[in-house]
Amino acid sequence: MEAAMDLMRRISPNHTETALSALLTLLPQHSSDLLSQVDQPLQVLCDVESGKEFILCEYNRDADSYRSPWSNKYHPPLEDGPLPSADLRKLEVEANDIFAIYRDQYYEGGISSVYMWEDGNEGFVACFLIKKDGSQTGHGRRGNLQEGAWDAIHVIEVGVEEEGMAHYCLTSTVMLSLTTSDKSSGTFNLSGSIRRQMNLDLSVADGHLCNMGRMIEEMESKLRNSLDQCSPDYLSVDMATFPSRESSYNTGCNYYDDCEDV
């Protein structure tokens, strides 16, 4: 299993699906571990009741059915599929509404879903998912990408409230794939997945949703930053390999300098 996960960290993320199916063939006895530990591109289903799409993951799955955050029903229908408690469902509904607005403001399109469930220790876990197709044929407004996919998975474990404080543990994974192509510069493909964790103790005065939202927003900005800047930063190291030219890019670009096209 350890060797299998090492392989997955080395093989190009473009080949994730082939590599996973190969490992499943070699290690049938580890299939459930492989399927849960290897990050795969997010899949989407349409909620028949609301007509809205929702994202599938391990956390809204029971047997072969997936619970929609919009209607709270399993697709395909499943009797006795576990549901969150009434209180938690209320928070889940609110989180889905707010997160859809957040997603629209940052992603200008895409799909989002939030799932929550009680954990064994009286706390709860929330999973925030975003899927964006930024290609020319998808939701790419500027048409820069021949192919472009961004899948984000944020899982937050929220501890029990004690003296007005709660512990939040966020694990975020972003999977990315983009290709640009033109005659003068050839094809350029960047693909990858990165994962990071953040632990905070926060006052619950502002509400769980506010705390979780801020953590996710900060984390997404950091992950985006390391994905988009990793190339120039690392390249300056790598540049020693490549023709030694004066680098023309500016790695110190202003993080919040994003104003040219509101």
């Binding site: 499943l24 957040y102 200008e108 510069s185 960047l190 990165i194 927003e217 985006r224 020693a240 509101v262």
Partner: protein, 349 residues
Amino acid sequence: MSDEDDLQQPEPTPKQKKEIAKWFLANAPPGEIHYIAKDIQSIIADEDTYHSAVSEAYPLYNKAHMISLELPNRTGDVLITTFGEIDETEYLDPRTCQVATVNHVKQVCTNVRPATDEELPSSYIEEFRGTLDAELVKYVAETYPKGICSVYCINGKDTEGLGADFEFVVVISAARHSPQNFCNGSWRSIWNVEFKDDLQVVELRGKLQVDAHYFEEGNVQLDASHECKDSTIFQSPEDSALSIINMIRHHENEYMASLEGSYSNLPDTTFKDLRRKLPVTRTLFPWHNTLQFSLTRDITKELGIENGYLAIADGKNAQGNIGEAWILFVDPDDIGEGRQEKLFYRGLD
């Protein structure tokens, strides 16, 4: 191997195991085939199958990545390429006129012998090849700190004089493996150089390939390639060599500049179609004040702009207490021409 492999199937056959092992080895990132091999060895747990897979996969990987190996007599490095391949384990180094025996799996040269006359080009061709090689070495030394290069004659090596066509391949391979910086990278260029006697031209076709693997807190891989063409007139060996290397320098520099362009465009342009740095409102998302969104919905309905994009951004003044609210209307078909209307000046809390 196909994607439709039955997930429930029992033990795979040795043949399946071998094919899968070869696939992983062939797709190893630059400089990482040994790690992949170690993982595969422990996963398939079948030494015979493993050895048969590595003995087939390594030669293909070594040639595809054009790795360089030090000659045992310290006279230089030999590149493992299809152009210099005499047989499975013997590779020609045209510069030193030597043939190296190679152990593919260990990635070392085990022996070296002088090349035979049949393996080397005629003296007429060698004059063109050697002069071009000398210019290439100068160019590579000044541009690639760890670059290894070679010039092979792949067609017409026995041409004795004017009146016949011949073809060279110019190869540059540079690799950098720095696990301490969590990245491995490689640059490869292959230039086909055709000397056409009848037309008195020299035609160039280049294929440039850049691969990089960053593995700090994840697995990010870059894969870029570019093809280009150029031509010049057939001249003396010295003049041909100079103009060929000038063309190669020009195209490689130009490609490098466009790659840097691609990089510098990533944060601001390319990535924006995936995720913006800041919301369309240009301020961080107002998590502390999500009540406003029910207000947004009401305004949207009232203004009848449900097709548009509406957002409320709030900000605090210098004293940090009085809120100021902005209503922002963005037409989705005309993004970039957003219309802002300051509707009211009061706190939303």
